[in-house]
Amino acid sequence: MRQVIKITLFFAAAMIITQASMAQEGLQLSVGHNAATPLGSSFRGYVNKPSFRGLQESMLFGINNHLRVGLQSSYNDFYQKYERQVYKSTDGSDVSTVLSNSLQTVPVFAKGEYSFFNKGFLRPYVGLGTGINFVNYDQFLGGFEYDKHYTKAAFTGDAGLLVPLSRKNNSGFRFSTSYNLMPFNKEGVKNLDSWNVQTGFTVPLK
């Protein structure tokens, strides 16, 4: 959560700076809700419920009418509680517990987007990104927490649609879907890949 706040503050500061100077052109800020579904048997063995506690932010600079590059980050909280069972611990003990799995991912990507149209009411685009993924792994045996933090690589590919407020306006609503490839092999969980759906808005900052 602290990482999310830091990233948000970074975007907010960047927005204020660009608003104040009006020197840079082509910057656009996007903010939206991010819902994620865990993929892969290992990740789904840990948590198989989709995460609706998530957000995505990006700040991209328009190089030309079609291509934008910049930074994108997202946050998702995966959580699942399992009814009481007896587990065989690695040390040979038997543990009767309600198990709660909680995992937060904060990937930060260097990202490029290609927009097929720069005018009109529907502006589809596709994007690719690569970056790092901050992972908070939490497992609760009853009320007792086991907590670990990891930093791993992350990759994303997305496709979306910008629906501007008007034909001449670059502000608007943004709908997209993405696949996040997140290599991970810790705590018995392999890869944190997810399929995501975003709903948000975009505002140009120039």
């Binding site: 927005m15 009767s96 927490e145």
Partner: protein, 213 residues
């Protein structure tokens, strides 16, 4: 100016999104019963059917922050001793009431209270706890306790009830140790509540089906 105001709207929306996407509070989503954890471990080389009689210590050791405080016998302690006695009898063991005769199994109970949060190996605080119960109580003056296994590392925040079954039939005369052949530990909210005693003993014994005469 208009664009600037819209940007502020975006910033406000961001804050709203962060608020709505906060992490689920796991412990808030657990009932008291769900917060409790029961851990048992035993000496896998021991056949529990080879023992016939048992006795439970007549009071409970209270250990606070790793330090022995006292031997106690309050309502919870007496209820726990009674529940464990009943459980052992149901498993086919005979309660040795004659103090002149040594039982084959001895059972020690401890209440462990910790006021701090941290990652602590169980071995750290109860590897030595056996010393709080003088083996003289079991007729083995000068002996110590031996734990043939260690526990993993967990974070804990509150009280725990610990039950040890000792092998009094086969004392290790070369090392002067009484072997602990089974350990049960219950931890979590309400662990010292009298109303939870039956749940605690049943949870510990239900996952220890090998304790059977």
């Amino acid at each position: 100016m208009k664009k600037l105001k819209f940007s502020y709207l975006v910033a406000a929306g961001s804050i709203a999104l962060i608020t709505s996407s906060c992490r689920k509070d796991v412990t808030q989503n657990l009932s008291d019963a769900e917060s409790r954890v029961y851990i048992t471990k035993h000496d896998s080389t021991v056949n529990f059917a080879n023992y016939q009689t048992f006795r439970i210590a007549d009071s409970v050791s209270v250990i606070k922050d790793g330090q022995f405080v006292t031997h106690a016998y309050n309502t919870y302690d007496s209820t726990m001793i009674a529940a464990l006695t009943q459980e052992m009898i149901q498993r086919g063991y005979q309660l040795q009431t004659d103090h002149a005769v040594a039982p084959e199994l001895g059972i020690n109970i401890s209440r462990i209270i910790t006021d701090y949060t941290g990652t602590v190996s169980y071995g750290d605080y109860w590897g030595g706890y056996g010393n709080y119960w003088d083996p003289y109580y079991w007729g083995y003056g000068g002996y110590g306790y031996y734990f043939p296994y260690t526990f993993g590392t967990y974070t804990f925040r509150e009280g725990a009830i610990s039950v040890d079954i000792l092998d009094l039939k086969n004392p290790n005369t070369s090392t002067n140790k009484l072997n602990t052949i089974w350990t049960g530990l219950g931890r979590g909210t309400g662990i010292f509540s009298i109303s939870n005693v039956n749940e605690e003993t049943q949870a510990l014994f239900n996952q220890s089906t090998y304790i059977q005469q």
